[in-house]
């Protein structure tokens, strides 16, 4: 687990891979109460010109943060978190769904505040932009 004594700029966090299926989207819709139909209905996704049903941006954002909270252990240390939703994550209606791979690197250490730059890639496209989490690793 990360601790302030051993964290340095440039350190890479252990990677994380997740797989979103339509079940994941339905589960997240219910848990989050975000029932925008573009996250479960091909009809509505087509109607707004999307290439298919897409994952909730917040599902990708929440999943990406696991990279950081798995690393620091205690999620209460997260001070801020930003992402830009750059590409939709299309989730086909099949058994395999879509894989999203997350990576992170320590970008800055300012006293106990550690900034982590996060990457999220699905089908070789970056689906999150400028993603940064700031965590407080003070004792």
């Amino acid at each position: 687990m990360a601790s302030l004594e051993i964290v340095a700029v440039g350190d890479r966090l252990p990677g994380l891979s997740v797989r979103f299926t339509r079940e994941t989207l339905v589960r997240y819709a219910g848990a989050s109460t975000d029932f925008n139909p573009i996250h479960y209905s091909s009809f509505y996704a087509d109607q707004v010109g999307l290439p298919g049903v897409i994952a909730h941006g917040m599902l990708t954002m929440g999943s990406a943060l696991r990279l950081v909270t798995d690393w620091i252990g205690d999620p209460a240390r997260v001070r801020s978190y930003f992402v830009r939703f750059t590409k939709p994550v299309v989730v086909p209606d099949d058994a395999d769904g879509t894989e999203v791979v997350f990576g992170g690197v320590v970008e800055a250490v300012d006293d106990a505040l550690v900034t982590i730059a996060i990457e999220a890639v699905s089908h070789e496209l970056k689906v999150l932009g400028a993603a940064r989490a700031v965590v407080d690793l003070a004792e």
Partner: protein, 141 residues
């Protein structure tokens, strides 16, 4: 009437009180496939992005505002920032207050910047959730 730059500064009343429950935290953590032990046990905290559950009620006050002419199915989340004072905990009762910070009309879409303050009923600020939404105009998608 469509949303315009003149709607910047519009602030909605706080959402109805929301009590954070251990069951909802567990449901949300499971939906993220996240088994961090902080989200279970006797005094669970909520995953940081759980704030979206509370923010969504505030976002709806804007999306459903008849004066803005928005349609949920034509809205896409552009970016999101959370700034935390502390984690949400099971047993917290909070509400969320949304302010429209900025509106830009760009061709066939509107770019809406908003901020939501999540506070306890006692007025303690727990988190701020700033979001940008893209709203596509009808028929132009």
């Amino acid at each position: 009437m469509p949303i315009t730059a003149d709607h910047a500064g519009r602030r909605y009343p706080p959402t109805p009180p929301y009590e954070v429950s251990a069951a909802k935290i567990a449901e949300f953590a499971r939906a993220l496939g996240d088994d961090n032990p902080a989200y279970t046990g006797e005094q669970p905290i909520a995953p940081p992005t759980f704030v979206a559950v509370i923010s969504s009620a505030a976002w709806e006050s804007m999306f459903d505002d008849p004066e803005l002419g928005l349609a949920l199915r034509r809205i896409v989340h552009g970016d999101q920032r959370f700034t935390y004072r502390r984690p949400l905990r099971a047993g917290d009762t909070v509400h969320a207050t949304l302010t429209i910070d900025r509106v830009r009309n760009r061709g066939a879409s509107d770019i809406i910047s908003s901020s939501v303050e999540v506070e306890t009923l006692a007025g303690e600020l727990v988190c701020t959730a700033e979001a940008t939404f893209f709203h596509a105009h009808e028929g132009d998608a």
